[in-house]
Symmetry: C2
Subunit: 169 residues, 2 copies
């Protein structure tokens, strides 16, 4: 999985082949095919592993903040920092929607949606769009953090996203 | 280009090959290779053609609105509708950064950044982030419109994005 991600980072998604992945790991192609049916399967598994790790981290952040608004802000700040240091979320968008990827994306979506639902229930965010719509907005906007060098720029991005969520008169 | 885009839409980016593109167009692979060096070249050209067309349309929208804030709102609404009806912008994120793609993305970025710079100069949007940062926010957030069925949902998304840009006390 790491080898596939490295090839993507260096040469782009279209350049990844089972041969290149095998070469990079020092494994034979036959061995690689025992575990993964194709490139999509490798990248989907890599992506799922990434998201699972990130969700554990974000759940800890959530559980250490008090109140729905503070929890939302703390999680978005942490997730933006993750994206800044682990670019690659964008890769997932180009993948054929395998079950693993859909599942991982879905868990991330639900995690953020639950935070937004709680914050809306407490009147701390706008209520003129559905929780699913607000979640789509948040997850797309926050992907702008990918590859941002400056922690201050990441913080400004999160502040802008949170402004977008503010209750409307 | 259309054939390549159709294969991506059906089977995902990793599934596109020169053979599949040739097959779909009824062209020989040798002929295809006369015009494009590889899959990346086909997809980059397709993407550049899309963005060029969209920018012409958006420039007309801009020139029919009065005032920096209204121009920004009109263009974002039009661009969100384009994304809702022409999903595929996400494909570009997975492409190896070819010159054409960078150029097209850059033109879109500059187009939006000019609108934001004008609006900031008129005090109609926040000034606590750079125009480039605001542009990244807008272009990532607005990609949430891709594939949205409901025009009302697209309008709500644009309203949320514009709220994020509002001047801060």
């Amino acid at each position: 999985m790491d080898a596939a991600a490295a090839v993507v980072a260096e040469s782009g998604l279209a350049a990844v082949t089972m041969s290149k992945i095998a070469e990079r790991t020092g494994t034979g192609r036959a061995t690689l095919y025992k575990y993964f049916a194709d490139v999509d399967a490798v990248l989907s598994a890599w992506h799922e592993r990434q998201i699972t790790g990130h969700l554990h981290h974000l759940a800890e952040i959530r559980d250490h903040a008090a109140g729905p608004g503070a929890r939302l802000a703390a999680v978005l700040a942490a997730y933006a920092q993750i994206l800044a240091h682990h670019p690659g979320g964008a890769i997932a968008a180009g993948l054929h929607r395998g079950e693993h990827t859909v599942d991982a994306q879905q868990r991330l979506h639900e995690f953020v949606r639950d935070l937004l639902t709680d914050a809306a229930g407490a009147g701390e965010i706008r209520d003129d769009a559905t929780a699913d719509e607000l979640t789509r907005y948040v997850l797309h906007a926050i992907s702008a953090a990918e590859g941002l060098d400056s922690p201050a720029a990441v913080r400004r991005l999160v502040a802008i996203i949170l402004t977008g969520l503010e209750p409307q008169r």
